[in-house]
């Protein structure tokens, strides 16, 4: 039942799963992230990185989404407890 410190989504490796902890971005980007499903507790899975290392592909709310490192750095995720 250990819960680790929340860390940026950008540090996750392909194949890893986590829960959204907090969206740090402000303004428009924040609004957009929320609408796309990055709300507290939402489960996501990192699918892969683009061949050149950025952006990242992940699955959230049952669909595939890509986002750049500068966006994934603004999202804190936590490991699943249990």
């Amino acid at each position: 039942m250990s819960q680790q410190e929340p860390r940026p989504l950008s540090t996750l490796l392909p194949g890893e799963e986590a829960l959204v902890y907090q969206v740090l971005a402000k303004g428009r980007i924040r609004q957009r992230l929320l609408e796309m499903g990055f709300i507290r507790g939402a489960r996501l899975k990192v699918e892969k990185l683009a061949p050149l290392g950025d952006p990242m592909e992940l699955v959230i709310k049952g669909y595939h989404l890509s986002l750049r490192r500068e966006e994934s750095q603004c999202i804190l995720v936590s490991e699943e407890t249990g």
């Binding site: 969206v23 609408e35 699918e47 061949p51 669909y63 595939h64 890509s66 986002l67």
Partner: protein
């Protein structure tokens, strides 16, 4: 008449549903004041015609982007009788987020579970009736791209449009609901605010912190009270309004999704993920992407070449016919040299536009375009562009005109504008003809090939540099996000793609065509007057031609001599034209590039040929033949003898040609796609400035190195 609005997420199959509902009877235009496309059509209902408006696909109605503002304004406005919310049935939860917002408008609504076949294939068992009962809104299942369920949808639309809104709405919980109600009471006291939509709608937008709502309220007399209340509410909560509202909406969306899928999400296999294992693979992804680019390029420009040549040949015949059948004079000249080349220039772009837009639509509809952007985004983003900028830039090396239109796939306006503005720096195939002439004449073969190659690299490098510069200056404020859905792979519908190609081509001819024709007529006037109106010269030509005919020579020789006389007359007209005058006046400006030693008395003719090339770069070579009074085949020889170019000024000329201005076709397209004279003018002005600077540096550098 009943008006219905189609609203839904991008990639929910809205467009094919729209095509299915309205058939080919569609009107394509723009939303007032913006360049976002507005598509509408009609179908016959039992109680008269039903007008269908296809709204831009959006994930939300928070009015953050141009698309969202358009959709929001239209949906909250007075024209809508029924909102038809199209959902991707295989991706319900996220699609239902928008539904939650739409329900807040309190309007009659209808839900469409589209792509029901996809959902079934993924092992999802839909229960539309359960959802309809819970929500109090009719729900219809369709397969839009195969036309299934369309008849039922039409019937449901007609009966729902007559009904009243009695739908369940998202509940924001015991903390927020009283606050929303209090805010509503304040708003209700200001009748002017009714234009924004229902009171609850505005209250939610205020809590969410959207700029449009704040502006709408700020104009009223109760602005202070309302905004103070919003602020105090925001202060009471641990998290901001936007977060709370979106969390409640997603909770609501999840509940709806569970009603509709009582057996749960049994996501067995995801065929797209299997395809993606190859198509966006670490090593295979890039080679596959390159192969796709090559295929699109060859299909567009190799297959587009033949019809383009037929169109050009056809207009050539028309020109010849005009010259032969109209009495020689100003009218014949206007038609044959002013109007027909302009119309020809417009139509000659149509084949490549249709082919490229067909390919782009195909890539978009299959879902590969998003993957292409995913693969190319890193290097493009580094230069201030977007992953989706890459394809238009590459296509620009074939022809800039369709390339500018291909930027339509880029969602964010700033990304799109920057891409549009740097496309003219990509060296197109028309410029290649000029390089071949100039480099072939003034360089030995190997160096000529290298110089031509260098032009293409220089163009690409400059495009990257200008993009970065624009991003750091004019577009610094515009934060574009990359959040991009990677939709499931799907087979496109041929009919939809063909309709799309047709609409793209006809909108180009209709809207960009006028600009191109006007420009072509202007250039004709500048290069033909006042000499064209000089009766003395014309009479002289006729006397000389009559004298040749009187000699009674063999037909072939006579024709040749007549042509020589006509060419001489044309040279006389062009070289004494307003454009020539401008060319001579501009000579001091261009001298540092084209005549650094002051030893080229004919340098102004380069400027004249380049001005004519504004219509289309293809014209530069033929104009050079006219101004140097040379037969087309021996033009290189004539230039070597007469023009006085050194290899260094020739290189400067090539650099200038690469950059100096987009052709009229491109300007027309930029004007249409950016919707702004300012940006079209900017692309022209920065091109000229940059061309001068780069060509000057080339010549200067060459002289320092002791060349030329």
């Amino acid at each position: 008449m009943t008006t219905i609005a189609l609203a839904g997420n991008p990639n929910c199959g809205k467009t094919s549903l729209f095509n299915g509902l309205t058939g080919a009877r569609q009107r394509v235009g723009n939303w007032a004041g913006v360049t976002v496309e507005r598509r509408s059509g009609q179908f016959q209902g039992p109680n008269g015609p039903v007008e269908v408006v296809d709204l831009p696909g959006t994930y939300s109605l928070a009015a953050q982007s141009e698309d969202e503002r358009i959709a929001t304004r239209f949906l909250a406005g007075p024209d809508v009788d029924l909102i038809v919310n199209v959902l991707d049935a295989s991706n319900l939860e996220r699609n239902l987020y928008l539904t939650a917002q739409l329900l807040e408008l309190g309007r009659p609504m209808l839900l469409v579970l589209n792509m029901a076949d996809d959902a079934a294939r993924r092992g999802l068992h839909l229960e539309p009736q359960a959802l309809a009962q819970f929500l109090g809104v009719p729900v219809v299942a369709t397969v839009g791209n195969r036309g299934e369920g369309l008849q039922a949808l039409r019937q449901a639309i007609c009966s729902a449009a007559a009904g009243r809104a009695m739908a369940r709405r998202p509940d924001y919980g015991p903390e927020l609901e009283p606050a929303i109600a209090a805010l509503e009471r304040e708003i209700a006291q200001e009748p002017d605010l009714a234009a924004f939509g229902p009171t609850r709608w505005l209250a939610l937008h205020l809590l969410e912190g959207t700029a449009e709502a704040a502006t709408a309220v700020a104009q009223g007399s109760r602005a202070k009270t309302i905004l103070a209340r919003v602020r105090s509410l925001a202060g009471q909560q641990a998290v901001d309004g936007a977060t709370l509202l979106s969390e409640h909406r997603f909770a609501f969306a999840r509940e709806l999704a569970e009603r509709c899928l009582p057996q749960g999400q049994r996501d067995l296999t995801d065929p797209s993920a299997r395809l993606d294992r190859v198509l966006t693979h670490r090593w295979l992804g890039i080679p596959i992407f390159v192969a796709v680019m090559v295929a699109v390029y060859s299909l567009t420009f190799a297959a587009g070449k033949a019809p383009q040549e037929w169109i050009n040949a056809g207009f050539g015949l028309l020109q010849a016919w005009t010259r032969a059948h109209l009495p020689p004079g100003e009218l014949a000249s206007l038609l044959a040299d002013g109007i027909l080349p302009g119309v020809g220039a417009v139509f000659s772009f149509v084949p490549v536009i249709m082919l490229l837009m067909g390919c782009v639509a195909f890539l978009e509809d299959t879902g590969y375009m998003a993957r292409a952007a995913f693969i190319m985004d890193r290097p493009m983003h580094l230069m201030g562009l977007h992953g989706k900028s890459f394809l238009p830039l590459v296509m620009g090396t074939g022809c800039n005109v369709p390339a500018v239109q291909a930027t339509r796939t880029i969602d964010a306006r700033s990304d799109r504008l920057i891409t549009i503005l740097v496309i003219p720096l990509m060296s197109c195939s028309a410029r290649l003809q000029i390089y071949i002439l100039i480099a072939g004449t003034f360089f030995p073969p190997l160096q000529a090939a290298l110089a031509i190659l260098a032009m293409h690299f220089l163009g690409f490098g400059l495009a990257m540099a200008v993009a970065k510069a624009l991003r750091l200056t004019a577009f610094r404020e515009a934060q574009a996000t990359f959040l991009m859905e990677l939709p499931p792979y799907r087979l496109p519908v041929l009919k939809g793609t063909l309709l799309h190609m047709w609409q793209r081509a006809s909108s180009f001819v209709g809207r960009a065509g006028v600009t191109i024709m006007a420009g072509a007529a202007l250039i004709w006037f500048l290069t033909n007057y006042p000499g064209n109106a000089n009766r003395g010269w014309r009479d002289q030509l006729h006397r000389q031609q009559a004298a040749v005919r009187a000699l009674g020579l063999a037909a072939e020789e006579e024709a040749q001599r007549l042509a020589v006389l006509a060419d001489a007359h044309r040279s006389q007209v062009v070289n004494s034209s307003f454009a020539a005058g401008i060319g001579r006046k501009l000579q001091p400006v261009l001298a540092p590039i084209l005549d650094p030693d002051g030893s080229r008395p004919e340098a102004w003719k380069d400027g004249l040929a380049l001005s004519a090339g504004f219509v289309a770069k293809e014209i530069v070579v033929s104009t050079m033949a006219v101004v140097h009074h040379s037969p087309a085949e021996g033009l290189g020889e004539t230039l070597r003898r007469q023009s006085g170019h050194t290899s260094l000024t020739a290189l400067g000329f090539m650099v200038f040609t690469l950059i100096y201005t987009p052709c009229l076709g491109t300007i027309g397209m930029i004007l249409k796609e950016s919707g702004s004279f300012l940006w079209a003018g900017f692309s022209l002005a920065y091109g000229l400035g940059l061309a001068w600077g780069m060509a000057w540096l080339t010549v200067l550098g060459g002289r320092i190195l002791g060349l030329g």
